[in-house]
């Protein structure tokens, strides 16, 4: 063994080494990541924010959106959505690749790196991607005059936190997926799309009949969006709801990381 190999050093920094290699892998896709991070939200902003926004304003002014223009109303939701989708991309695909498609996690685990370190490394790298996407989008929103630079900066932290919570949960879920035949299709069409549509993204959740509102209550997107609207442009939010939204995301983060740790450890130890 080379004398430079230090198990103590690896115990402290193993997750960083994994994140380092994940970011290197991501850099191979940097063009696509940049286009997705900038292009996708821009399309939504123009098409829905401006296009549908005019329709909303002409018909009901700002009464249905808590006193702000429609584009301002949806901006924190789109910011949250960018964070959550970025987190999903950087957890679901690397975990499927690592365990199943290219089995790289087994290569990592044949070194002193442990399962929980691999999970944490993937998670940290996902956060870097989330931070990048959120900041790019936020700068666009500020540049377009939708949000104010001084008053809305904390909404980026909220969006990143929501992304972190959702990413942790997705990582835990995907670590348990053995057969991926239908998983990604079901995830995309039956989980992500409904969450996007029923999380108070384009209209307040309370506009929905009460029996549909629980979809929003369990959705991290709704909790992140509500916090984003509070910190983004000062939408009314009670102290209780502020606490509940924060606790829900924190619980998702903690549970996601716990499940990931257990599943990564067990799946690597045959």
């Amino acid at each position: 063994m080379n004398k430079g190999v230090s198990v103590e050093n690896i115990r402290r920094n193993g997750a960083i080494y994994v994140a380092e290699s994940r970011i290197r892998q991501m850099s191979k896709w940097k063009g696509i990541i940049a286009v997705v991070s900038i292009g996708n939200p821009l399309f939504y902003l123009v098409a829905i924010g401006i296009g549908i926004g005019i329709l909303v304003t002409e018909n009901s002014g700002t009464s249905g959106t808590g006193g702000v223009e429609y584009i301002v109303f949806i901006a924190p939701a789109l910011l949250a959505n960018t964070a959550l989708l970025g987190a999903m991309d950087e957890t679901v695909f690397p975990v499927m690749e690592g365990f199943k498609w290219r089995k790289m996690f087994y290569a990592m685990n044949s070194t002193p790196i442990t399962g929980p370190q691999i999970a944490l490394g993937v998670f940290l790298a996902a956060l870097v991607r989330v931070a990048f996407s959120v900041l790019v989008y936020w700068i666009l929103l500020v540049a377009f005059g939708v949000l104010s630079f001084q008053d809305s900066w904390f909404s980026t932290v909220v969006a990143m936190y929501g992304g972190a919570a959702f990413g942790a949960l997705m990582m835990g879920v995907v670590a348990g997926v053995q057969k991926d035949d239908y998983f990604l299709t079901v995830l995309g069409r039956l989980v992500i799309t409904p969450l996007f549509l029923f999380s108070g993204t384009f209209f307040p959740l309370t506009n929905m009949p009460i029996y549909l509102q629980p979809i929003g209550w369990i959705s991290p997107l709704w909790h992140t969006t509500e916090l984003g609207r509070y910190f983004g442009y000062g939408q009314q939010l009670s102290g209780t709801m502020l606490l509940l939204h924060s606790l829900y995301l924190t619980a998702m983060l903690v549970v996601g990381i716990k499940i990931s740790n257990v599943r990564f450890t067990n799946r690597l130890l045959k």
Binding site: M1, N2, G4, V5, S6, V7, N9, I10, R11, N13, G14, Y17, V18, E20, S21, R24, Q25, K28, R102, K103, M104, Y106, A107, M108, N109, S110, T111, P112, I113, T114, L268, L269, K270
Partner: protein, 308 residues
């Protein structure tokens, strides 16, 4: 007795009702090239995973460099270089990047790894492919890269699971040459294989495994001496006549194995036996006299061929 790096007693691994490894004992000495020979499903890879601290044993004890791999996984793996049965390289990264990131997993400094990468590229004869994405490499190149990757930390023990399966003869010989150099450098090698020629080429000592158990142990020469004769005469009379002449041939040799397409006759002098058979008026369609191999040992021990 040389210093023992690995010592296993009663090592057992069960998956539900299936026993993959069934109470095996073995020791591996420092600098030794130790082989696990057996057909697919014999328990070789499972044994390798237990040694590599990536599988929990069901019973028994195992110590690697004095440590229990279950309790000290990272510490044990710090000493190992692992070449799995299937290459698990990152195919989207280049050859150099694969070596680099793997070195970092061992906590090695960026500077050290960068220097080491050049040395490993030369060892694996991949200098010209240094900046090529792994997905563009041939099977043999990928295998050499996987072995080079396992050497980045200068491991005390290099573990190779079926190192040449799926490679063409030329690629196999290049790989054997590389492994032989490592052996000369004093690296302890643990190799699983179902190729008897590979085991004979690379292993100082080996265990023959079947259905999770160790059937025999020794150097290739010792095993052949103990479980087979010096020579083997292979004769083919055609699938219809093989059955007919077998009882006559049985009386003329120490041991006989009837395979679907040919008959193996175990004797000290194959040419003399062939003459005797011909003298009896039995004329085989084809005949071949060869030295006994580990294939014959395996056939003797299990009644089955290694590659079925």
């Amino acid at each position: 007795m040389p210093e023992s790096l690995i010592s296993a007693r009663g090592l057992t691994k069960k998956y539900g009702d299936f026993t993959a490894v069934d109470g095996i004992d073995f020791d591996v000495a420092k600098g030794e090239s130790f082989g696990l020979l057996g057909p697919n499903g014999a328990g070789k890879s499972t044994t390798m995973r237990i040694i590599a601290a990536t599988s929990r044993r069901t019973a028994g004890t195992i110590s690697i460099l004095g440590r229990d791999p279950e309790e000290h996984g990272p510490q044990v793996r710090a000493h190992l270089g692992v070449v799995p049965q299937q290459d698990n390289l990152d195919t989207e990264l280049t050859v150099t990047e694969n070596l680099y990131i793997y070195g970092r997993y061992f906590g090695l400094s960026k500077k050290f790894v960068k220097n080491k990468v050049n040395e490993l590229l030369a060892f694996a004869q991949l200098e010209e492919k240094a900046d090529v994405k792994v997905e563009a490499l041939s099977g043999g190149m990928k295998r050499r890269l996987t072995i080079a990757r396992a050497l980045v930390s200068e491991p005390d023990i290099l573990m190779l699971d079926e190192p040449t399966t799926g490679l063409d003869p030329q690629a196999r010989h290049i790989l054997w040459d590389r492994l032989f150099r490592l052996k000369e450098d004093g690296v302890t090698l643990i190799i699983t294989t179902h190729f008897m020629d590979e085991a004979e080429q690379l292993c100082d000592r080996l265990v023959v495994m079947d259905k999770g158990k160790i059937m025999a142990e020794g150097s290739p020469a010792e095993l052949i001496k103990k479980y087979s004769t010096r020579e083997v005469l292979e004769v083919r009379f055609g699938s219809d006549r093989n059955k007919e002449v077998a009882p006559i041939l049985r009386e003329m040799c120490e041991r006989i194995e009837e395979l679907p397409d040919r008959i193996l006759l175990y004797v000290e002098d194959g040419e003399a036996l062939l003459e005797a058979i011909t003298a009896k008026g039995l004329h085989p369609n084809t005949s071949l006299v060869r030295r006994s191999s580990l294939e014959d040992v395996f056939l003797r021990l299990t009644g089955r061929s290694l590659i079925e």
